[in-house]
Symmetry: C2
Subunit: 430 residues, 2 copies
């Protein structure tokens, strides 16, 4: 049986998963591909650490460039992470005409123009299923399964860490800080958690999905990003009272010449499948003009699930090699597109608004009056002193209003002496 | 730009959807494929009926064999349905070495050995995404996205008609007959609804998924099939009381040398995403040894959603043609496999048992005693006279027990003079 040489750059958690997966299911995969995937080099700085998988010591090397150059290696798998070193190796591989599999969303999102352009010019395959949604084959679904559709909207829970934290806040009644610590203790969150909890990791993935939806590179600057640090127990409970859960959602809406790419905490109705996605699971809802709503769900992180997605990409390229073709499904084009990105200030949404009240009379009515006077249509205002919250708040639900109109009204509200802390607002799912 | 000729056999609802979809999104698809899909022949018996889409009259013909022979046609799309005529045309196409796209689950499930064998010998592509789960790209997910996994289980809601009926029974409190009539009035059920409500359509799809999971043709004889006609309002309400919904599920569990393929009404816990799949939507949960649980959700029927899946298959083959390859991802092998199929009588399940009681004292205790005496471990028995049910029943929930042990006990129970009608039982989801 034909053999296809695979070189692995980065022997961390996911890299170890790829080694373990190829070992465990190698025969099965060979039968499905009509070729055997053979690991012929593993490059990492640390050659000594025990990864819990048996790797042939003869394959281990610190010389990544040597792995890339090795003529017996047909496919390069980059799992180093980070932008600088990983970027250099991906560039070297593509320049050498070697197809690349990567799960490096940060690199592809931040330097997409260059990396996708290089793959295009080198006429070489660049696959990245593991970079979005962990094990979920959502990139394949969009590029192939839904290829007949104009993509109208993509809505996703794309960060397992944030979803785990929000699940703990919802189910165990933990405040944000305790839920974050719990996630850190379980290895779901980094010691420095900003990339996850401030929404930037979700935005990396959103930008990749946006690029797939419109067919050419969408820059990070297109995304409006808001994280989950400001979400309180009070918000979680108030949301549940009106039959919603708060989720960190990415929302991508491609239109003819304009596109929205946004990441922010969102009130999701309990009747939506997205509201039932818990813990470190991810889900992506894709709406096509022919398909209508479709949804893809699975584990958004973890060694084996992500390794499964990475190996599937290796198989895709191996099937191309066996069939004697390449770039059968082009990655993302770098052709400039006549497209503007809608700033979130210009979008229309419904909002949940929490106004922390100082003492005083008729304050809920004052909130209603100020919002109405500033052009914000109000559906309801209620004074609440929710369980655990020592001080009262006014909770307002708005009708659809332009965000900049709301922001102006809320800034004014925050400055009132009967408002004891800055006003918070969370958007409803559109 | 290169053109790829497409011939359509069958200008019914889905066929009209394919014509409309290619017209609507032809430019977009051409950009994605780097080739233009050009419809060059549409064969149907009825050339006059208005399908609500504009088709070039010059393309319409009654001569399907002529379409198959046409050297300007590269890909044949079979959407006639039924086994006989459609089977003849598919055979002709494959024998002529022409790749085929079909949504004909009945044909592929009933004659898989022959049709897949023919495609293999002709070394030609045979794609069938539209045959399972409507618009959901679940076949692609299993064959490609999850290719690194050993598939451990597939659980699916695969028939939109049955799911619509069960949704109406659940939400509107309709009895089965009224819900079926409602489905018929809306065009979701046929005048002769047996294929759907007796579970055979679901079994066709289950057998195709089973074949994909184990890599070679699984015959229809492997499937245990039970439909939804016997489900009562009482059952729906009793299930909800214990936080379950009744769904018609297909369940496929491939093991080393043994496989389970079953279709039957099932008690699904409300916490499962499958319990939240309503109306004509379908969902397929696939468990892989690396991926863990994944789920794919979308519209299970309808013109545009199914046409979207069919066009995606045409694109897959077109991409092969453009890239100069074929059978890059083989369909289903006909290589015999050392595999037995587990009969449902030999499986272990937990059960909901409904025993319609005549008048008498202590009958719930008698039910418990008889079940226990016949080796059925009982978790609970309760006498109920649920809303609308004029007569009382005993509702028993069992622990895990072999089905044939339960069946023997229930046959004995049904024969008791204090049991007024045959005992019903529904399996819990495993």
């Amino acid at each position: 049986m034909r053999e296809i040489g695979v070189g692995l750059l980065g022997f961390g958690t996911i890299g170890a998963g790829v080694v373990a997966g190829l070992r465990k299911n190698g025969d099965l995969i060979a039968e499905r591909v009509k070729a055997r995937l053979v690991l012929r080099g593993i490059a990492d700085i640390d050659l000594d650490r025990d990864r819990g998988v048996a790797a042939d010591p003869a394959l281990l090397t610190r010389d990544a460039a040597g792995v890339i150059r090795d003529p017996a290696i047909d496919i390069i798998v980059e799992l180093i992470g980070g932008a600088r070193i990983a970027g250099d190796f991906i560039r070297q591989s593509l320049e050498a005409g070697k197809p690349v599999v990567t799960a490096n969303k940060a690199l592809l999102a931040e330097q997409g123009e260059e990396i996708f352009g290089l793959a295009e010019r080198a006429n070489t395959d660049l696959y990245f299923e593991g970079s979005v949604g962990g094990t979920i084959p959502v990139i394949k679904a969009i590029r192939e399964g839904l290829v007949a559709n104009r993509i109208e909207a993509i809505t996703g829970i794309l960060n397992g860490t944030c979803n785990y934290i929000l699940t703990r806040m919802d189910r165990q009644g933990m405040p944000f800080d305790a839920a974050l610590q719990d996630a850190q203790a379980r290895g779901y969150a980094e010691a420095e958690p900003s990339l996850d909890v401030d929404g930037r990791d979700t935005a990396h993935k959103a930008v990749l999905l946006a690029s797939l939806a419109c067919g050419s590179v969408v820059p990070m600057s297109a995304a409006s990003i808001e994280g989950i640090r400001a979400i309180t127990q009070e918000d979680i409970r108030n949301a549940l009272e009106i039959e919603h859960r708060i989720k960190l959602l990415a929302f991508i809406a491609p239109r003819d010449r304009e596109m929205e790419v946004r990441v922010h905490p969102t009130l999701v109705p309990l009747s939506s499948l997205l509201a039932s996605v818990h813990d470190v699971f991810n889900a992506v809802q894709v709406k096509g003009d022919l398909s209508g709503e479709t949804l893809y769900y699975g584990c958004g992180a973890g060694r084996d699930p992500t390794a499964g997605a990475v190996i599937a990409d290796v198989v895709d390229i191996a099937r191309n090699i066996v069939a004697g073709c390449h770039r059968r499904v082009p990655a993302v084009s770098v052709k400039p597109r006549d497209m503007t990105f809608l700033r979130i200030e210009e979008t229309d949404n419904r909002y949940y608004v929490r106004v922390p009240l100082a003492s005083g009379r008729n304050l809920a009515q004052k909130v209603r009056a100020l919002l109405a006077a500033r052009g914000v249509p109000v559906a309801s205002v209620e004074r609440k002193r929710g369980g655990g919250a020592a001080e009262p708040s006014a909770i307002a639900i708005t009708e659809t209003v332009k965000e900049k109109t709301l922001n102006a009204a809320l800034a004014e509200l925050s400055a009132r002496d009967w408002v004891r802390a800055p006003v918070a607002r969370i958007r409803f799912q559109t």
